[in-house]
């Protein structure tokens, strides 16, 4: 890049090679060398004629001159065209490419000063042309000089774009229905693959309290290992927790859980069992404690279905290993006897809020997708009608 823009006239960045013009070197055809006969003939006065035998040579020489002149003409025309286009399309970066780069001759008999000037200006060989004034950092300068531009550029009224934008926005609603749209609809109607997944009820995973406890232990394990490794590199000095692996962790957790599992009131039996007992046991709180038939009665009544044991007889803490199966057996018996309505799953569900919520949502999804599908079917039908019209 050459030169700093000087003064208000030059608003061009000095990237000469961007100019589309090729400043051709118009070399003149040396008449003496190439066209000797021609020169000689010209030198003669008018009286001396041209011999017939000279015709042929003259013809060749004239042809040479003519061809160089016409080439020059062509190039000039092309350059002018570029110049015109360039001036007209100011904002355009499209340049016409000249394929030719000939050297042209200018006969010396055109010794007018204008020609000389042209040769002077153009005779620097196809070097880099003046640059295009469109680099970003010149934007403010360019705006300043808008006033000095050709009158062609001035009357550019900003176009009113609003109606175009409006129609563009309305277009999607008013456009014709094509088979493309029909195809899209059909695609939409295909049941999605993940539908099945939505309706699946995933099996109960580990309860979060267990999981968190497990994770916490593992975390502590890791920390311990890290601390031990950092503090003391010897293997023998690992903390008690680092030797545990997952299995041990599980066992540890279970132990702690087992300790907590006993309900506060110390009754391991399921709810149904308790209720049954309550129904069967007549609690006479008011009556004095010396009512000894209580233990007997409970023993008798509980023998009615023969499935329960008598926990109150024994004072020492006992462990009943089969409370759950007891519970379920009692339930079955009661249902069989007609004392309890058989409610299948909702009973389970009431304990699981998450499951309940999940089911509710699934039902909603089913209803909604059915509704959507009917609507899509209708739409498809209408679209097909429209297309065939």
């Amino acid at each position: 890049s050459q030169g700093v823009p000087q003064g208000p006239v030059s608003w061009a960045m000095s990237e000469l090679k961007d100019c589309p013009l090729q400043f051709h070197d118009f070399k003149s055809v040396d008449h003496l060398k190439v066209c000797p006969r021609y020169t000689a003939v010209l030198a003669r006065s008018e009286d001396d004629g041209i011999g017939i035998e000279e015709l042929d040579t003259l013809q060749l020489e004239l042809e040479t001159l003519l061809s160089s002149a016409s080439r020059r003409l062509r190039v000039l025309e092309a350059e002018t065209q570029i110049l015109t286009d360039w001036q007209d399309k100011k904002g355009d970066r499209r340049f016409l490419k000249l394929g030719r780069d000939h050297e042209l001759g200018a006969p010396p008999k055109h010794g007018k000063p204008k020609k000389q000037k042209l040769e002077g200006k153009a005779g620097h060989g196809p070097g880099p042309g003046p640059g295009r004034p469109k680099s970003k950092n010149l934007q403010p300068k360019i705006q300043e000089y808008e006033f000095t531009d050709d009158p062609i550029d001035v009357p550019r009224i900003p176009k009113n774009d609003a109606p175009n934008r409006f129609w563009a926005s309305v277009e999607p609603y008013c456009a014709d229905i094509t088979s493309e749209e029909v195809r899209t609809l059909e695609e939409l109607l295909k049941p999605p693959e993940d539908e099945a997944e939505h309706y699946k009820i995933p099996p109960l995973g580990k309860h979060y309290s267990q999981r968190w406890a497990q994770e916490d232990l593992l975390e502590e394990q890791k920390d311990g290992a890290r601390a031990a490794a950092v503090a003391d590199k010897k293997k023998g000095l690992m903390g008690p927790l680092t030797e545990l692996d997952t299995k041990d962790v599980d066992a540890l957790l279970k132990k702690s859980e087992a300790q907590h599992e006993q309900p506060e009131d110390g009754c391991p039996f399921g709810a149904l069992t308790q209720r049954l007992l309550q129904a069967l046991v007549e609690e006479n709180i008011i009556s004095p404690m010396e009512d000894s038939p209580i233990p007997d009665m409970s023993g008798k009544e509980s023998g009615a279905d023969g499935a329960s044991t008598s926990p109150r007889n024994q004072n020492k803490p006992f462990s009943v290993p089969h409370t759950k199966s007891l519970e379920s057996r009692i339930k079955e018996e009661l249902i069989a006897q007609g004392l309890l309505e058989s409610e299948d799953r909702p009973a389970e569900d009431s304990e699981d809020e998450v499951l309940a919520e999940l089911r509710k949502r699934q039902a909603e999804l089913k209803a909604l997708s059915a509704h959507n599908r009917t609507k899509k079917h209708d739409l498809l039908r209408l679209a097909k009608e429209e297309v065939s019209r």
């Binding site: 050459q2 030169g3 006239v9 030059s10 608003w11 061009a12 000095s14 000469l16 100019c19 013009l21 400043f23 118009f26 017939i52 015709l55 042929d56 003259l58 013809q59 060749l60 004239l62 042809e63 040479t64 001159l65 003519l66 061809s67 002149a69 016409s70 080439r71 020059r72 003409l73 062509r74 000039l76 025309e77 350059e79 002018t80 110049l83 015109t84 360039w86 001036q87 000939h102 006969p107 055109h110 204008k114 020609k115 000037k117 042209l118 200006k121 153009a122 620097h124 070097g127 042309g129 003046p130 640059g131 004034p133 000095t148 531009d149 050709d150």
Partner: protein
Amino acid sequence: MQTENKISPYYRTKLRGLYTTAKADAEAECNILRKALDKIAEIKSLLEERRIAAKIAGLYNDSEPPRKTMRRGVLMTLLQQSAMTLPLWIGKPGDKPPPLCGAIPASGDYVAKPGDKVAARVKAVDGDEQWILAEVVSYSHATNKYEVDDIDEEGKERHTLSRRRIIPLPQWKANPETDPEALFQKEQLVLALYPQTTCFYRALIHTPPQRPQDDYSVLFEDTSYADGYSPPLNVAQRYVVACKEPKKK
């Protein structure tokens, strides 16, 4: 503009003005040159007419042989000159080369004029067919046949041939610098006049001419050479025409 490293509307307009002037000058120059060339062509055609008239007149004059058979060398020189002075086609910008310029074939209904040079396929006495360089004497619309004279030894009989056996030779040279498409390209099959003879033979173009005065460089089909082709030989644009027929057995 280049020295000052500036482009501005002012300079561009100025340059445009200069170019316009230069263009006008160039156009004027071209016109004058063309006029001069036309004059020369006029003179030549006058000469040609005179020659033909003399020929015809000479035929009626039986006191002396119509024409002494030319010596070979003289004939060859004549041919050379004729080739050299074939006018060069210089089109104005936007002009396309006309038919019978270089490789551009003649239009379908073209009729060669008397005095035109053509390549004619004649049957020799021994039954062999050869393409010879000939000059048109006349054309009969009625029978669609040309009468042609062998350019060599006018004493030979005239041939009367149908149009299919006549290929007119180009009347302009094509300028390689402005109309390269009017030239035969490398590897094209052509009929070319074998140097120092007056017969056309099949050949492949080796190189087209680079400058207007240059000749084609061609490879003649020649079974006496190992690869079947002669070394490159120069043939003027005038004596190279397109070859249409398939190889005869």
